[in-house]
Amino acid sequence: MVALEQVLDVLAESLDGALPINELNEEAPLLGAIPELDSMAIVGIITSIEERFGIIFDDDELDAEMFETVGTLRNQIVSKMEN
């Protein structure tokens, strides 16, 4: 199980306080909604997730849908951990 707080923690760490973490829920949009979420930040988040959850994404698994909302990001982590 991956808690929402764990995902928010990774986002907060990578975006260095740019997010109002306490106001975010599963439906909170990411790509297109957070100006700080550029390519460097995306790669930083992916790397943090891999380190923290002990998973490695195939690069072909990385797509914009994964970063649509906090919930889609969490689902992708859960799905990867289960496989």
Partner: protein
């Protein structure tokens, strides 16, 4: 206080490259530090930190040298037209320039990919550094190249462009002879050189040739526990000075960001009298 001057240094390889020198107003102490830049977008995002670090160390009595590798920053040459060995040569040129200027004790500070360039130069036996400080070094060039490719894929995501896969990026490299990411063109030769660079390969030489300090940045709230990185085998733990610094990973941030705790820890390390 400090003084500064800027010049172009002749390279024994190719074109001149940019060199900034920050020095104490009190005169040459004989102790110098070279700040070796990182790479690509990380270079752009760390320029301000490098200048602040140089000024702080110079004000504390060090001769500090910052430079841009040929083909990058303010140096001559087009990005992507230079090799790993050209950059090793630039570092050696700065080192010799400092020696000729009267400093006997030379140290080096570098961020991310700069650590692989520095460690290759030390392992080649060309340069001898008193202290070697790595800020969050890249340990494995293969993983770094993968991150560059991911940057390309992520850029397509964040720009709402057509989705890219690794296969697309590989095909692009094959067709054009370079990887274009964030406006930079990285040739296949350079990519191959980076892939082959590993800190683990040089770690034995590094710990015997220099006083190695390794600073890992962690955001406030993260554990400050010291974990030895994969490149440092257990037998060498007592020869690598690991430091955990709670500060922002400035080279990742979109806006110019300063890491004041890192600057202070660094100055402390270089001004501490043993």
């Amino acid at each position: 206080m400090y003084k500064s001057d800027f010049r172009y240094l002749s390279s024994s390889h190719k074109l001149p490259f940019f060199l900034a020198h920050y020095s104490p107003e009190t005169g040459n102490s004989g102790k110098a530090v070279i700040l070796v830049p990182p790479f690509a977008e990380e270079l752009n995002r760390s320029k301000r930190m490098y200048v602040l670090c140089a000024r702080q160390l110079a004000a504390a009595g060090m001769e500090v040298y910052c430079f841009d590798f040929v083909g990058t920053g303010d140096s001559y040459g087009e990005w992507g037209s230079f090799s790993w060995s050209d950059w090793q040569q630039n570092l050696a040129d700065v080192y010799r320039h400092i020696k000729a200027s009267g400093s006997d004790e030379i140290s080096v500070i570098t961020l991310r990919l700069g650590a692989l360039i520095v460690s290759d130069a030390i392992a080649a036996g060309q340069l001898q550094f008193d202290k070697c400080l790595f800020w969050d070094p890249v340990e494995d060039g293969e993983i770094y190249v993968r991150q560059l490719m991911r940057l390309k894929i992520a850029a397509a995501m964040s720009e709402d462009a057509q989705a890219l896969t690794t296969k697309d990026v590989m095909a692009d490299i094959e067709n054009h002879g370079f990887l274009e990411v964030g406006g930079y063109q990285i040739t296949t030769d350079l990519l191959d050189s980076i892939r082959q660079a590993k800190l683990a390969k040089n770690i034995d030489t590094l710990v015997s040739a220099t006083q190695l300090h390794w600073m890992v940045l962690k955001n406030t709230g993260q554990s400050s526990a010291v974990n030895y990185p994969p490149s440092v085998p257990e037998a060498l733990h007592n020869q690598v000075n690991m430091h955990t610094v709670q500060d922002t990973r400035f080279w990742m941030q979109q806006e110019v960001t300063i890491a004041p705790v890192l600057l202070d820890k660094t100055a402390e390390l270089f001004t501490h009298v043993e």
